[in-house]
């Protein structure tokens, strides 16, 4: 009887061990998955509920309001303005960073004395906190203490009196300038890698075929660099759509609401004024906008891959 029990126990142990062996991978990832579920799915689900109720510090209760939160954000002229500012600033910043990054990459493609040192210096802005970047530009641009007007006056030979964070359109220029200062190195690094990966033999072949440098650039360099450019633009565009830090420090969304981006608007609604229902609904709408843009970009990126697979 005891022997039978002992055998049964060992069989059960073996069965349990086999089960564990078969599903060990799920056991190992379970803690991470649970953490992710708790940290993302639960808040997402909760925010879904907040979208459709009144969740406002100043108004008691959490009554069901259906789509009122979405409608309030949609009808808010400040939200609409913030959307256009976001799209405009992102497009302008990414365009400037792309052009400057490309020019820098071209300049640094061939080896020269001091190239490595210069490359290190070029990427330093990437490691600076955006808040510091905003503060730095605020200090140098803001009248009357900033030196920019003085230096411009010396260069141009006449008095310059621009309020860079208060005059239209200079506050947009200031924001794009601050962002470009920080993120051009990102474009530079990616584009330099892309340029370096193009084989010299292709240029030699083009030269043999009688192509001018200009033709080589347009018919060899650009086509081969396009996927890299798309990748860099995709990363930067999705990131720049979340413009917040520099805006917060440099202009605080002002003057008035001129430099309100969607992120800043949602921050104000949700975390300063505690209109959490509006803030949450706006965030979901913003996520849809970013998703559409990201989806389009990824499709463009994957087009060559799909063509090759086909």
């Amino acid at each position: 009887m005891a022997a039978h029990a002992d055998t049964y126990g060992r069989r059960r142990l073996r069965a349990a061990s086999s089960l564990l062996d078969a599903h060990i991978r799920w056991v190992l990832v379970a803690p991470a998955v649970l953490l992710i579920l708790f940290m993302t799915i639960y808040p997402l689900g909760y925010s879904m509920w907040v979208n459709f109720v009144n969740y406002d510090f100043a108004i008691p209760g959490h009554r069901w309001v259906a789509l009122d939160n979405f409608k309030t954000v949609w009808d808010d002229p400040i939200a609409r303005h913030a959307l256009w500012v976001t799209l405009g600033l992102s497009a302008a910043a990414v365009a400037v960073e792309l052009v400057l990054g490309f020019l820098l990459a071209l300049a640094m493609l061939r080896a020269f004395v001091g190239r490595r040192m210069l490359m290190v210096l070029f990427v330093v802005p990437l490691f600076v906190s955006p808040v510091i970047v905003g503060t730095f530009f605020s200090l140098i641009l803001t009248r009357p203490f900033g030196p920019t007007n003085y230096l411009l006056g010396k260069v141009l030979g006449h008095t310059v009196n621009i309020d860079f964070t208060n005059d239209h359109p200079w506050y947009y220029v200031s924001i794009v300038l601050a962002d470009a200062w920080q993120w051009t190195p990102f474009m530079f690094v990616i584009l330099l890698a892309g340029l370096a990966s193009i084989s010299d033999q292709l240029y030699e072949a083009a030269e043999i075929d009688g192509a001018s440098p200009r033709q080589s650039f347009f018919f060899v360099t650009l086509p081969l660099l396009t996927p890299i450019v798309l990748l860099a633009v995709a990363f930067r565009l999705v990131d720049s759509l979340k413009f917040f830090d520099v805006i917060y420090v440099l202009t605080r969304g002002g003057p008035g609401t001129s430099t309100y981006t969607l992120s800043y608007y949602l921050y104000e609604q949700g975390f300063q004024l505690f209109h959490l229902g509006m803030g949450t609904a706006g965030s979901w709408m913003f996520m849809v906008v970013i998703s559409v843009i990201a989806f389009w970009l990824v499709r463009r990126l994957l087009k060559p891959v799909d063509a090759v697979s086909a």
Binding site: R143, R252, F271
Partner: protein
């Protein structure tokens, strides 16, 4: 208000309050030497109180018999809450110096518990307190709340009323010698929600040397056919400021208020000027915002006129930067919070905490006057409140009662690094305070007078939303937006806020606010016949 307690001199004496007795100037040589030795020893052992050793000793003396209210609460705290730690949320920077360097360490010495200070920029005290309340974290015990936030905090359960505890400890007399303007500011819906702690009334500070300059006087008279004098109306202020700027810029500008968003908050400028011109914020019948009516346009144009006479770029400078310009002698007139008077005389700069401010170049040159049109803003300010989620509510109450008790509060407002300003009759009359610099007596008298005529911040539901819309909208007007359309935009936002919060709720809240002294220029303390005369 039916529960208004009239000011009676005997109230002050009744409870044996004579803070100045702690600084008896008629002591003999033996006592002087003995006290000096005690002070020196105290200073040496004072640690964080080194430059405030005198105030620390006085506060200790007040808490151990000198002041019945301070003594009562300290004894109760020591008996029942010894070693209890408290967390206080305070405005970041200079405001937080006081709990960190004075009341916190003193409380620790006497009661044994730590006072941890959480710092936040002024608008974020509101948001952080609300966040902690929503999360029910119980992290905060003491909240330095602006009176304007009390309706929202009270209605939403962020803070607790203190009437029961005031009755329990029998310290109701602590409210007796508050300036009448401040008595009602901690009250809402018939309950008391904390202890008023900061007389943040705006005053006009002007350069006596500039106004007394014979050449300027002659030129002014030639232009305006009247003598150069401290302006009494906003029109005169703008004319005078523009004149001084024309004559003396870029060395000196006529006016110079910092106007960065949220620092200090442009809504203060508008509320003050608008109500000085007789404006009302809402139509009580329809609750439509009236800030864009002709009075609003006049007020905003007046502010824009002032801006033209100010240093270029000042609309992006924060409040401290405008102080820097004032201390460097670049501004002829500034209207601002009471610390302006102290820093003008280098009183505050004695402390290393104020090392970021330059030494004053206008020592002895500053005069004090009522605001143009008389009605200055009582802007911001603080009430010491107890968080409703606090796990140490009674200890927090005792701490608040202690630091705002007559004698201890006098030491607080006399600290070199304090931003807390006089608010009690005993403060204005204090011989010790009046001896701090040659003009201190006039300074205190002017603060009391300013409080007699002051208008208060809108204290009503949604005040943070309305203030934010006004502040933001004004920066747009500074940047070039048309005044009328800018104010129309602000009024539209205000109406949207009213609609969202509920018109009836806002109507009721506004009606409550209108009952408070200083809600309009027609019901200031002076207009109500309750002006305090300090000489």
């Amino acid at each position: 208000m039916s529960d208004e307690i009239p000011v009676r001199p005997e109230d002050f004496e009744e409870v044996g309050l004579d803070p100045d007795a702690l600084f008896d100037a008629t002591m003999g040589r033996r006592d002087f030497l003995l006290n000096t030795a005690k002070l020196t020893a105290a200073a040496a052992a004072a640690g964080p109180f080194f430059l405030a050793a005198e105030q620390a000793q006085a506060a200790r003396a007040a808490s151990t018999g000198g002041d019945p209210i301070a003594t009562t609460v300290i004894n109760a705290a020591t008996q029942n809450f010894k070693g209890t730690n408290l967390t206080r949320i305070s405005e970041a920077g200079l405001q937080a110096l006081e709990p960190k360097n004075f009341s916190g360490p003193l409380w620790k010495q006497m009661v044994g518990g730590n006072v941890s200070v959480v710092e936040a920029p002024f608008p974020q005290i509101f948001t952080k307190s609300v966040t902690e309340h929503i999360a029910k974290s119980g992290t905060l015990d003491v909240i330095d709340a602006s009176p304007a936030w009390i309706p929202d905090f009270a209605d939403r359960g962020v803070i607790m009323p203190v009437d029961d505890l005031v009755a329990k400890y029998k310290i109701g007399a602590t409210f007796n010698d508050l300036h009448p303007l401040y008595r009602a500011l901690a009250k809402y819906k018939g309950k008391t929600w904390g202890f008023f702690a900061d007389g943040d009334v705006w005053n006009l500070y002007y350069r006596k040397d500039i106004f007394g300059n014979p050449k300027l006087q002659k030129a002014y008279k030639a232009k305006f056919k009247r003598p150069l004098r401290v302006p009494r109306t906003w029109d005169e202020f703008n004319e005078t400021a523009a004149f001084i700027t024309d004559q003396m810029a870029p060395k000196v500008y006529g006016a110079g208020e910092g106007r960065a968003l949220g620092n200090p908050g442009n809504q203060f400028y508008f509320f003050q000027t608008f109500r000085a011109f007789g404006g009302h914020l809402y139509d009580p019948a329809t609750m439509k915002a009236l800030v864009n009516n002709p009075i609003g346009i006049k007020a905003m144009n007046s502010i824009m006129g002032e801006l033209k006479a100010s240093e270029p770029g000042i609309n992006k400078l924060d409040f401290v930067s405008s102080w820097v310009l004032w201390l460097q002698g670049k501004t002829a007139m500034i209207y601002a919070w009471p610390p302006t008077g102290r820093i003008s005389e280098n009183y505050a700069q004695r402390d290393k905490a104020f090392a970021f401010l330059p030494k004053s170049k206008v020592v002895g040159k500053v005069g004090y006057a009522l605001m143009p049109n008389r009605n200055g803003e009582h802007a911001g300010s603080f009430v010491q409140t107890v968080s409703a989620d606090s796990k140490n509510a009674e200890a927090a109450f005792l701490y608040n009662a202690w630091i705002t008790s007559p004698s201890v509060s006098l030491q607080v407002v006399m600290l070199p690094y304090t931003l807390r300003d006089p608010y009690r009759i005993s403060h204005y009359k204090s011989a010790k305070y009046r001896s701090l610099w040659p003009g201190a007596k006039n300074y205190l008298i002017s603060l009391a007078q300013a409080a007699n005529y002051a208008v208060i911040d809108p204290i009503m539901t949604g005040s943070a939303d309305y203030a934010n819309a006004m502040d933001r909208g004004m920066t747009g007007i500074y940047a070039g937006k048309d005044v009328k359309s800018g104010l129309d935009g602000i009024a539209k936002e205000w109406d949207a806020i009213t609609k969202r919060l509920g018109q009836d709720r806002i109507r009721a809240s506004y009606a409550e606010f209108l009952k408070l002294p200083g809600a309009t220029s027609k019901n200031t303390i002076a207009a109500l016949g309750k002006a305090v005369k300090i000489t």
